[in-house]
């Protein structure tokens, strides 16, 4: 997704001199070309993420559209008050780009896990939160973020995420995108785990359980209309995110479902339990521990459908 992001940004920057990319000392093998091509649109602020957000807001309040890049954990946690005050309070067109969503940096340990960033960013007024599912969505999200002219958190995976779409879908900010149709249940997923959600639905299809899969790439503003409609049409709703079960996509969806007056669907939130991992390993390893592989997701959803 990083490469999809920088490819799109390179196109945008060529057309618009007001687009600026800031990095907090990251981007090895990703930003070299951009830096060379656009020396007046690229600045490495050093390892100084809060300062980067402040600089970004100043630039943005002076007419620039600023992409501020770091690893998602540093881009979101360390910078939070600067994002809240300098960016959101001023509705400044700053796009905070967090790469390494969720468990991407699993082997690097708890300090590098971006597993509470959606919760934080979703809590901010004026913020748009985008969590693209694959390189195709990432490219689209980069383009849209630059057009919005308001604060955006863009949550990217790392590299080598599988492509979900064989042809470019029609995507719109704030509207979930149907990836697969199905009648027994519906999965709402976001970000780098959508692929696994889709695989789990395909597994279950083979067992006669037909599930729909929707990419909720816009975590904020959440697609309320769609969720209300799904709650009417489906008896079972599942959310899947590579993020804590506290405050992320599952919370966003349940906030809406909880307020529906009519009979409510059965609801399952799958994500990362509210804890720091005790053992480390690859992203795949931690996905297994947290039940986020296609196999574990299928099992859990099948059980959920049976029980309720």
């Amino acid at each position: 997704m990083r490469y999809a992001f920088i490819q799109e940004l390179t196109k945008l920057a060529a057309k618009n001199k007001n687009i600026i990319l800031l990095t907090a000392d990251l981007g090895f093998t990703v930003f070299e070309e951009f830096a060379k091509k656009f020396p007046k649109q690229f600045f490495n602020v050093g390892i100084a993420e809060p300062n980067m957000i402040g600089i970004a807001s100043g630039l943005a309040l002076s007419g620039k559209i600023v992409f501020a890049y770091s690893i998602a954990s540093f881009a979101s946690f360390r910078t939070y008050e600067h994002i809240r005050n300098d960016v959101c309070l001023h509705k400044a067109p700053v796009i905070i780009v967090g790469s390494g969503a969720g468990l991407s940096y699993a082997d690097n340990g708890p300090t590098h896990l971006a597993t509470q960033d959606l919760a934080l960013m979703r809590g901010l007024p004026n913020m748009t939160v985008l969590a693209p599912a694959d390189p195709v969505e990432a490219q689209w999200a980069t383009r849209e973020a630059a057009r919005l002219k308001s604060p955006v958190y863009l949550r990217l995976g790392k590299k080598g995420e599988p492509v979900i779409y064989d042809k470019t879908p029609k995507l719109k900010i704030g509207q979930g995108n149907w990836i697969k149709r199905g009648s027994n249940f519906v999965i709402l997923a976001c970000g780098n785990i959508v692929f696994n959600a889709l695989k789990s639905a395909e597994n279950l299809e083979k067992k006669g359980l037909s599930g729909a899969v929707i990419s909720l790439h816009t975590v904020k503003p959440i697609d309320k209309k769609l969720i209300v409609q799904l709650a009417k049409n489906y008896s079972h709703i599942v959310t899947v995110e590579e993020h804590s079960v506290v405050g992320g996509l599952g919370s966003a969806v349940s906030e809406i479902i909880a307020q529906i007056p009519a009979k409510k669907p059965e609801f399952l939130i799958s994500g990362i339990k509210d804890d720091f991992p005790k053992k480390l390993g690859s992203q795949e390893y931690l996905r297994k521990i947290y039940g986020l592989t296609p196999e574990k997701l299928s099992l859990r959803i099948a059980k959920f459908l049976k029980k309720s």
Binding site: T23, D25, G27, F28, N44, V45, I47, N108, T111, K279
Partner: protein
């Protein structure tokens, strides 16, 4: 007192250990670990009052690896110093390990702070040093920072605080290898005049060659350099030190060793 040959030998062994861990796990940050190993050997075998058998003793000296991305060096040292079995090192970077790419508090004896996000160590170090003062303990706190880390605001907030509270039991060691993650320090955020900055903030400064055991021992053994003042030791180092083809190259922050490179590195150290 251990002689210089001891330190040289120990550092060479541990360099090999670091390379073996990096190769077997196919994990990076090799240059960052090689850059600090001489400092660690001096601290762990020459300076720190710590004991693996009594590692929670409140009177112990503390060591914080604020540049947590060089954890492999710390693991190699702690295992060799007897804080945990050497065979743990084989699990470094592997599935289900407790030896992450960055060190984690609470799982292994001798790890005083979870680091990995840069810019946390010196603040926590201030807290530990202050607690020692409040409790009338003689323990000292050593914090190893990277040069890139000195871009960070909280580092300088801690620097101000330590001066204000006269934390002369606090020692910062800066691994000044002149490289950070996306370029050379002087091209990204130049720190010079570095010594003057620390001095202006009220710290007592000593500059050393971070691979010279004599200089390192002299500086670290005599802290506080001045009563009532926190100490900083600016260690001029070489990223990737000890293996010619790993030295002074940005990419060795990121790359993994091939088998051929691993063998070449080990034989270079063996022939030293």
């Amino acid at each position: 007192m251990k002689n210089l040959t001891f330190f040289q030998k120990k550092a060479k062994e541990l360099r090999k250990e670091i390379l073996t861990m990096a190769f077997k796990s196919q994990r990076h940050h090799i240059s960052s670990s090689l850059s600090i190993i001489d400092v660690l050997v001096v601290l762990y075998w020459g300076v720190l009052k710590i004991s693996p058998q009594d590692h929670w003793n409140l009177k112990r000296d503390r060591f914080i690896l604020s540049k947590g991305h060089a954890a492999s060096a710390l693991y190699a040292v702690l295992a060799d110093r007897g804080f945990f079995p050497k065979k743990y090192l084989e699990s470094y970077g592997k599935e289900g390990t407790i030896l992450g790419i960055h060190p984690d508090y609470g799982y292994l004896a001798g790890i005083e702070l979870s680091t990995g996000s840069l810019g946390h160590g010196l603040s926590a170090g201030c807290g530990m040093a202050l607690a020692a003062k409040l409790d009338s303990l003689n323990s000292r706190v050593f914090v190893l920072l990277s040069d890139g880390e000195c871009d960070i605001g909280t580092v300088w907030e801690a620097v101000l605080f330590a001066n204000q509270q006269k934390l002369d039991n606090l020692v910062a060691v800066v691994d000044y290898n002149k490289f950070q993650a996306f370029g050379k320090v002087k091209d990204v955020i130049d720190l010079e005049p570095f010594v003057k900055k620390w001095k202006a903030f009220g710290w007592e400064v000593r500059e050393v060659n971070g691979h010279n055991f004599k200089q390192l021992l002299q500086a670290t053994k005599s802290v506080p350099l001045k009563k009532g003042k926190p100490t900083v030791i600016i260690a001029h180092t070489v990223a990737g030190k000890g293996v010619s083809f790993l030295e002074n190259k940005l990419e060795w922050h990121y790359l993994n060793l091939t088998k051929e490179q691993y063998k070449r590195a080990i034989s270079e150290l063996d022939n030293l």
